[in-house]
């Protein structure tokens, strides 16, 4: 399962990372080297293994449907790169169709 430069470009896109061309080759080599060490796992027989129950086996606790809201000690506009009228602002999406990404 060798990682190609195209694979790196693809996953960099998924992860929203811009990788320069020269770094791309280097990263593909590094990922291949690292993943090469993972191949050993394929030899392990795990057919009998149940993975849902992990660690302390604690069930999910549920909280009551009530406030108050978690207190914040700083205002949003002290943290946000750009706000207007209470909205976070981001550069406009290239096209309206981009919204279909959000399903």
């Amino acid at each position: 399962m060798a990682v190609t430069r195209d694979d790196v470009a693809h996953i960099a896109g998924l992860a929203r990372l811009a990788i320069s061309d020269d770094r791309m080759t280097e990263l593909a080599e590094q990922l291949n080297a690292i993943l090469g060490h993972m191949e050993v796992l394929q030899q392990v027989d795990t057919r009998h293994v149940e993975t849902t129950a992990q660690e302390g086996n604690e069930a999910l606790p549920l909280r009551p449907d009530a406030g108050p809201r978690f207190a914040m000690h700083r205002r949003l506009d002290e943290m946000a790169p750009e706000m207007r009228d209470g909205f976070f602002l981001v550069p406009r999406l290239a096209t309206h169709e981009d919204t279909s990404d959000a399903s």
Partner: protein
């Protein structure tokens, strides 16, 4: 978008196959994973906290009521609830998705294998429900408010949703609308959501394919999005089906893709396809251990379910001997059905109660834009009014006037009838005196009636009614005119 609106193919040779994915906002006080207010309408980003803003280090904690409402919905749809279900992360970047992933459920959802009955009578059929799972809503992106910028409001981010996925069991756009209507009604009955498509508390995506009539295999499907009303769903499905038929007729292949409905232009067009957009990299949400529902809780939630629409329709038809169409109207909502049943039981004549509820009650609510829950005429008061009509205390026409005043004032029917002088006069002496006066005042007509011109009875009765200002009991007047004139 050339090519999408070519001359329509012979669509009668094809069959539409539809499955629906419906997102429903659950009506909780607080969000799914934090205690921020989940209600709609606050100024932007006011209902936010470290959790729903995805600040570094914040973690989710699941709202018990969201689970409860999701369980109610799953039961109402006849699903099997999984004793253990698992939350998963659905990873994608979008500015209104603060964590960069949506907490959802994937390969171990809350519930599986339900069904929903749609349509009536001969058109009745069953649509399979594949699964019901829990997830969180995203925030809102507003694209047209500021030039060159998209504005993000995260008040909605983290509001609890369920997604209800159907089997591809629908064969027409009408089926799809019948499914949505039945689903909306059931969700209203069990009181888990506002289920308002215009306000976004119910959202519909459709998977559509076309195949030759008689073919067994399913065609390639597309996903249609961006519909915001039931009629929009209907029109979008038809447009997409027609488009696919055209593609198939030309001997081409339908591409699996996402289509967006443009209601204003009455057409579907492909969403810009992006290589990476569908690799969501789901994996189990490590911040939330598996959701474990003990069998006692599962049973308890099942037992607390109210009577569902279909069962109620059947019972109303049987118990009260009502026609199918009437039952359909009366069971539109739980509240209306409750109202009818209370009035029918108190009054005794279910048909009369049904006629009044479907007639005067709905008309009044419609005009005043009130809800049945806040209606000023209680079912017991309506029943009392019907008693008065049955007993001849008020005439049918006077009763409508009494009802209108009851709706305005909330007063009891006896009081309204009394105050307005609408109680029928049945006192024999008074009625006899009015009849005798009319016969004396109109000797010519009285004479001709006596002579056998029976059609004049109506005229004479009308004159008596007029004299009584409508308060005389017309049946008694009829009798008296014949007796007194006939001699």
């Amino acid at each position: 978008m050339t090519g999408l609106r070519d001359a329509p193919a012979d669509i009668t040779a094809y069959e539409m196959v539809v499955g629906l994915e419906v997102h429903v906002q659950l009506r909780t006080h607080t969000k799914a994973f934090c205690s921020c207010d989940a209600t709609y309408g606050a100024p932007p980003n006011v209902n936010t906290c470290p959790v729903c803003l995805a600040l570094p280090g914040a973690l989710p904690a699941l709202n018990r009521e969201a689970v409860h409402l999701a369980m109610r919905a799953a039961h109402a749809l006849g699903c099997t609830l999984n004793p253990v279900s698992v939350f998963a992360r659905k990873n994608y970047f979008y500015p209104d998705l603060p964590k960069g992933y949506q907490i959802s459920q994937y390969d171990r959802p809350l519930a599986l294998a339900g069904h929903l009955e749609i349509g009536d009578g001969d058109a009745a059929r069953t649509v399979g429900i594949t699964r019901v799972h829990m997830e969180e809503d995203a925030g809102k992106s507003i694209h047209d408010r500021y030039p060159g910028a998209t504005a993000i409001d995260l008040n909605r981010a983290g509001v609890p949703l369920i997604e209800i996925v159907s089997e591809p069991d629908m064969r027409s756009s009408a089926d799809a609308v019948a499914y949505l209507t039945a689903l909306k009604q059931i969700l209203e009955y069990i009181d888990v959501s506002d289920v308002n498509m215009e306000e976004g508390s119910l959202r519909v995506d459709a998977n559509v394919s076309a195949r030759r009539v008689g073919a067994a295999a399913l065609g390639t499907k597309t996903e249609v999005k961006n519909m915001n009303s039931f009629s929009g769903v209907q029109r979008a499905l038809e447009a997409e089906f027609e488009r696919q038929c055209g593609v198939l007729e030309r001997g081409e292949r339908v591409h699996q893709q996402t289509m967006l409905w443009d209601g204003a232009r009455n057409e579907v067009r492909p969403a810009r396809s992006k290589e990476a957009s569908h690799d969501y990299r789901y994996f189990p949400e490590p911040d939330l251990p598996p959701l474990v529902l003990d069998s006692q809780w599962i049973d308890e939630v099942r037992r607390e379910l109210p009577e569902l629409p279909r069962a109620r329709r059947a019972r109303l038809a049987g118990e009260y001997g009502l026609a199918g169409a009437d039952v359909g109207v009366l069971t539109a909502t739980t509240a209306l059905a409750d109202y009818f049943e209370a009035a029918a039981k108190a009054h005794g004549d279910a048909k009369a109660a049904a006629n009044w509820v479907m007639g005067e009650v709905l008309a009044t609510l419609n005009t005043s834009n009130e809800s049945i829950e806040s209606f000023r005429v209680a079912p017991a008061s309506l029943a009392r009014l019907l008693d008065l009509v049955r007993d001849g205390v008020v005439s049918h026409s006077a009763a409508k006037r009494v009802f209108a005043l009851m709706a305005e004032t909330g007063d009891a029917p006896d009081r309204v009838a009394e105050r307005e002088g609408l109680v029928q006069v049945r006192d024999a002496d008074e009625l006899t005196r009015w009849v005798d006066e009319v016969l004396a005042e109109h000797p010519a007509e009285a004479g001709r009636f006596r002579a056998g011109e029976k059609k004049l009875l109506g005229v004479l009765v009308g004159l008596v009614m007029k004299k009584s200002k409508g308060r005389a009991d017309p049946r008694r007047v009829n009798q008296l005119v014949s007796e007194r004139a006939g001699g």
